[in-house]
Structure formats: C-alpha cells, structure tokens
C-alpha cells in the first residue's frame, strides 16, 4: 500500500474518531495533535481553518446562544464542543489536502484516477476563467453593474463554460482514441 493511500485511511480514521469523541478536552487534544503534525505550517493551517468555518459557525453559534439565553439554559459546553469539533475536523482535512496526493491514493482504479485528474485539471482552468470573467466585468464597469448587466455576464459566462466543456470532452475523446487508451 502506498504512502498516500495510508494517509487517506489515517484521515478517514481521524475523522471518525473526531466525531465519536464528545469531551471538549479530548477534542482540544486532537486539535493540538493536528497542529503539531502540521509543524511550521501550524499557524497558517489554523488561520485557514478558522476562516473557512467562520461564517457558518458564527451564525450557528450566535443563533444557538440566543436560543439558550431565551430558554434560560447554558449554551457554553455545547458551543465549545461544537466549535472545537468543527475546527479539529476542518484542520485535519486541510492537513490531509496539504500532505497527501489524492490521485496516488486512488490509483487502484485507472478509470477513477483518469476521470478525477481530467475533471480536476478542467475545473482549475474553469475556475481561473470564472475569476477572469468576474474581474473583466468589474474592470469594464465605471459603477457597480446593474442587475441586467450581471444577468448578461452570468449568462455569457455559463454559455462559454458549456461550449468549452463540449469542446474539451471532444478533444479528450480524440486524444484517448489516438493513443489507444481503451485498447491497452
């Protein structure tokens, strides 16, 4: 078994453990362990995880705090456990993404690796193009674009992506056929 597949299994076991443990002390210990494993990247990892969960957890925590206050009960243990768990699991996910090569971890299936690699590379290209479209609209507008302008921009972007996806699929199919991918 290769190193990346072991990391994937370890990551799965870590996620399971993080959802089976409910004591905030153990959840905090788990978070400390993940940060220790991140080494010099610990602060960057923690910052990234905090930013990723901030909006969702802030809304949930504030709403739950208000509800508990209304019902005259203490929300602190529940909120501490919830936020520590989410932070632990998110940090663990980011550490896994930084350390493991998912394509190598899944290389037991040729078709799965192929589809994932192709979809990922195209998704990266599309994401860059999406950012370019967004910046293009902003740079060509003196004022904040109106609703209709934004509809037109979204429609133009969506049609570009549809066309590009069809062309990319046709090109990949031709490339596969010419290299005998399905006859090896």
């Amino acid at each position: 078994m290769n190193r990346d597949r072991l990391l994937l299994l370890g990551y799965g076991a870590g996620i399971l453990a993080g959802t089976l443990v409910h004591d905030p002390v153990w959840l905090a210990a788990g978070l400390a362990l993940v940060l220790a494993a991140a080494g010099r990247e610990a602060w960057r990892l923690l910052r990234r995880a905090l930013l990723a969960i901030l909006a969702f957890n802030a809304v949930i925590s504030l709403s739950y705090g208000l509800m508990a206050w209304w019902q005259d009960s203490s929300p602190w243990e529940t909120l501490l456990r919830l936020n520590l768990r989410v932070l632990l699991l998110t940090s663990l996910s980011f550490l896994f993404i930084a350390r493991a090569n998912l394509f190598r971890a899944l290389d037991f299936s040729r078709s799965l690796t192929y589809v994932l690699a192709l979809a990922y590379s195209q998704a990266l290209t599309f994401r860059r193009a999406h950012d370019d479209f967004r910046l293009a609209l902003a740079s060509r507008s003196l004022r904040r674009p109106g609703l209709m302008d934004r509809y037109r921009a979204s429609a133009a972007a969506a049609s570009w992506f549809l066309e590009k996806a069809l062309h990319a699929a046709s090109q990949s199919a031709q490339a596969l056929r010419s290299r005998g991918f399905f006859h090896d």
């Binding site: 589809v115 979809a119 996806a165």
Partner: protein
C-alpha cells in the same frame, strides 16, 4: 448546502456512506456500459462543468447572489446516473482537493443533490416534456434544487434527536426541523427559480450547439 465537518453525527454519515457507496457502484456499472473513449471524457468534462456552474453567481434583486448547481441540466442532458456520478465527483473534489465542504456531509449531499435531485429532474422532464417543453425544463431545474434542500434540511434537523448527551444537549447540529426546514428550504425556493431558468436556457443552448457541432 455546503455543510462543514462536525455537524453530522456518525449515526447519520456512516449509513449514508454505505448507501452512497452501493449506489456509486451501481451508477458506475450503469455508466460503464457506455464508458468508452467518448463517455469517459464527457463525464470528466461535465464534472468540471458542474463544478464551475456552482461558482457562477445568479444575481438576485437587492445585490445578493445565489449559486446554481446545474443538476437539472446535467440530468436532462446526460441521464440520472451520469449526473449522480458527476455531482458526487464535484462534491468529492470540493471536499478533498479544494477544502470546500465537509467529508462527512459528502454522502448526504451526494444522495440528496446527486441522486434525488437528478432523478427528480429527469422524472419531471420525462413526465411533462411531451406536454410543454419549457415548463417541464423549468420545473425539472426548480425541483433539482428544492427537493435536495428539503432532504438536507431534514437530515440536519434530525441531528439533535439522533445524537445528544444524557442531559439532552445536542452533540452535533443543534437545531431541530422547526428551524432547519424554513431556514434552508425557503431561500432555495428562490434559488430554484434561477436553476429552472438555467436548465431551460442551458438545454436550448446545448441543443443548438450540438446541432452546430454535428453540421
């Protein structure tokens, strides 16, 4: 419906993974019959397309935006199983490569959005498509968003009943169905309108584009 890790109990996500794994195997088997030099790149391309459609903002009056998912469009154009696989791959990519959305929420989102959303859209299209194409496509897109929203809200709202400590305090997502159903479903009734329009316009555009490419 991007739920971070830590809000779904293992009593929920472990059976969901078991069910999703069986359905992924079945979907792969169904698609594999057609899996050749043409369909494999198309699956990858539509996965990337679904990924980017989830990034395209649908402007709403008042300056806010909602995000389409392209599930209805994928389902009516390429079938339910292909759409299920593409949406599942997008969710896996988002969770494991881009760090967006939780790995514990993946099977629930895959079953709700990929399976229920795709097949609801496909069934609507097949049932109503002969009566009125535009209405059928719009409803297919609308339902592909609203039904998964109802399912995800139900799963979230059941968490306090499924996993709580001896004192009754929730261990995972803390709100019940009385909060999750209106909070999740109501905004998606509006998002569904955008998805319905995207499905209708996307279908017409793809039909024209395919005719142009074939010519």
């Amino acid at each position: 419906m991007h739920i971070p890790d830590g809000f779904i109990s293992p009593q929920t996500y472990l059976p969901a993974y078991a069910a999703a794994a069986g359905l992924w195997a079945l979907a792969a088997h169904r698609v594999k019959r057609r899996l050749d030099a043409d369909t494999l790149p198309f699956l990858a391309a539509y996965t990337a397309l679904s990924f980017v459609l989830m990034m395209v903002a649908l402007p709403l009056p008042g300056g806010t935006t909602a995000h389409a998912a392209g599930i209805g469009l994928l389902a009516v154009c390429f079938g339910g199983w292909m759409a299920f696989l593409a949406v599942s791959l997008v969710l896996a990519m988002q969770a494991l490569l881009f760090g967006d959305g939780g790995i514990t929420a993946l099977p629930i989102n895959a079953l709700a959005m990929g399976l229920a959303g795709s097949f609801a859209a496909l069934a609507t299209w097949k049932l109503l498509g002969r009566l009125h194409e535009a209405v059928a496509l719009f409803l297919a897109g609308w339902l592909s968003i609203v039904l998964p929203a109802v399912l995800v809200a139900t799963v979230l709202g059941l968490q306090p009943a499924i996993a709580h400590d001896p004192g009754g305090a929730p261990l995972f997502f803390p709100f019940g169905l009385n909060v999750t159903l209106p909070a999740v479903v109501l905004p998606h009734l509006l998002v569904g309108i955008g998805e319905g329009v995207l499905t209708l316009l996307g279908w017409r555009y793809l039909t024209r584009l395919r005719a142009r490419l074939a010519a």
